[in-house]
Amino acid sequence: MIGSLLIIQTLNGIQFGVMLFLLAAGLTLIFGIMNFINMMHGALYMAGAYVAATLYNKTGQFTLSLVMVVPITVVIGIVLEKLVFRHLYDRDHLDQVLCTYGFILIFNEIARSVWGASPYFMGMPDALSDTYEVLGVGYPVYRLLIVGAGLAIAIAAYILIHETRFGMLIRAGASDRAMVAGLGVNINLLNTMIFGIGAGLAGIAGALAAPILSVEPGMGEGVLILTVVVIVIGGIGSVRGAFFAALIVGVVDTVGRSMLPFVFEGFLSSSLAGAAGPAVASMIIYLLMALVLAFRPNGLFPVRGR
């Protein structure tokens, strides 16, 4: 019994980790290469979820709805970058925090006004709501799809970063921003592309999450914090770091939250376990982050040259 629970939670953790990777990959580049604090990455995730849900509810075309999210969120990201955020690159981090924080409120307000404050439901095609047997347990097909999609994107990201000229600029920019500018590269275009890609990734993560999570105003904030923890653990500016840290965080958080109370009950009095279990479980990711930082202040895969 506990074995199958563990398997399911681990798979959930991997699935969650994959989604965190989609969010973290873009955001770590925005933090690391653009040196821009973008608090509203979660809002773009939320935008992706609402767009996917709306499209699916209107058209009934699942795959198409998910795919269409990408250009829409990319455009939103690019528009924001060109109109507002571009002017903040040379400013204090504080000003960047304020502006992007303000946009969180604006996006949440738009969501509330257009779709209402209660969760907006998105279903999924019957074919996907089935279960599939994995390691002796039945596991939802859709979640396997998320893992698959996420890994596919991770591979695509790897190819992009290591096999293309654009990727080379990203790797160079991660370790030495000034040098990239000095190479005569169109820095503005590079920034816009990075931001746009980040927005697209956040959007697709939101779209993938929409059928299984609550689509509601403010859904982006919780996941933003976890994304931040992933990035800090992985190393700011490192997509590779984001990948491994995302999986670690996803699995540790999911398995920890579900299993830790049981573990505590095993060797603590039940009242103490009842109190400590959920408390520690909720903090476990942050304790992990603190532990990593104690030994590696720059994360597990720091980008050299910083």
Binding site: V84, L98, G102, M283, L293, P297
Partner: protein
Amino acid sequence: MAAVPPNPRKMSRSRIGVIVSVLFALTLLLLPPAAGYLETPYYVILVTRLLVFAVAGTALNLVLGFGGMVSFGHSLFMGIGAYSVAIPAFYGIANGWVHIAFAIVAAAFAAAVTGAIALRTRGVAFIMITLAFAQMFFFLTVSLKQYGGDDGLPIRLASSFGGATLKQPVLLYYVVFATLCLIIYGSYRLYHSSFGLVLRGCMINEDRMKALGYPTLTYKLVAYMISGAIAGVAGFFLANMTTFASPAYASWTVSGDLMIMVVLGGTGTVMGPAYGAFAFLLIEDLLKRVTDHWLGTVGVIIVLVGLLAKRGLWGLLQGRSR
């Protein structure tokens, strides 16, 4: 940004700031009796909240404005301050001295631990780590079901000092007001002191300070602890005011609001954060009455503040540029 302008020609304009502040302080001093006379006691509570956040904003300014540390951790310290009242009260301990000692020590300790980890990094990393720690505390308070969890913990016994308890709104008002005046004055002295000079130097060029021989991490950490302790005191007041302690007090959005108040009022100035707190909270209150979409409107205002507020309200009063 020194509070003492070298140019005598500008003296008269900075006088305006001082005069306005004195008038403002007098108004605040006379508010409770006036409210009592007009039989509108609600205003005492409303302004107490403004004063509490003015204290918290001034605390944040010590590290943000003087030290250049963009810390999301201050909601954590306020939360600790609030629960420093709620949890002892839960066990029947109403002694105000216990509450406040708890608040200061626990908040300073939390600042020491989180600061020791976060301050080894800079820039984006520092900001994000303080954010993560703030959320960690938030989730901790949510998960402590025996202390109310998500619903928060009502406080039946307010802090009592000798005979008086802070449950009396007018007494609480004056205590917070006095604290604010003290903290602002202390902030002023700190700014010009040896310690303050080192802190400001660290904000301008930390490598240079290291090259002068300063262990900059130590100084920043001490500033962080002082700032955290004062924010804890603000949390202590907040709990007494609302007779409630809630995880929401520790949410990272509270830190965000504090940052807005500091920037709006004038980052790095001594009086600015207090003005910023008053302005921001009053605007928010006004918007709430006028429109359902107040949160989004506040968002627009915040974006504009981030884009445009160079000198803040205090700078505008002073008529000086940065």
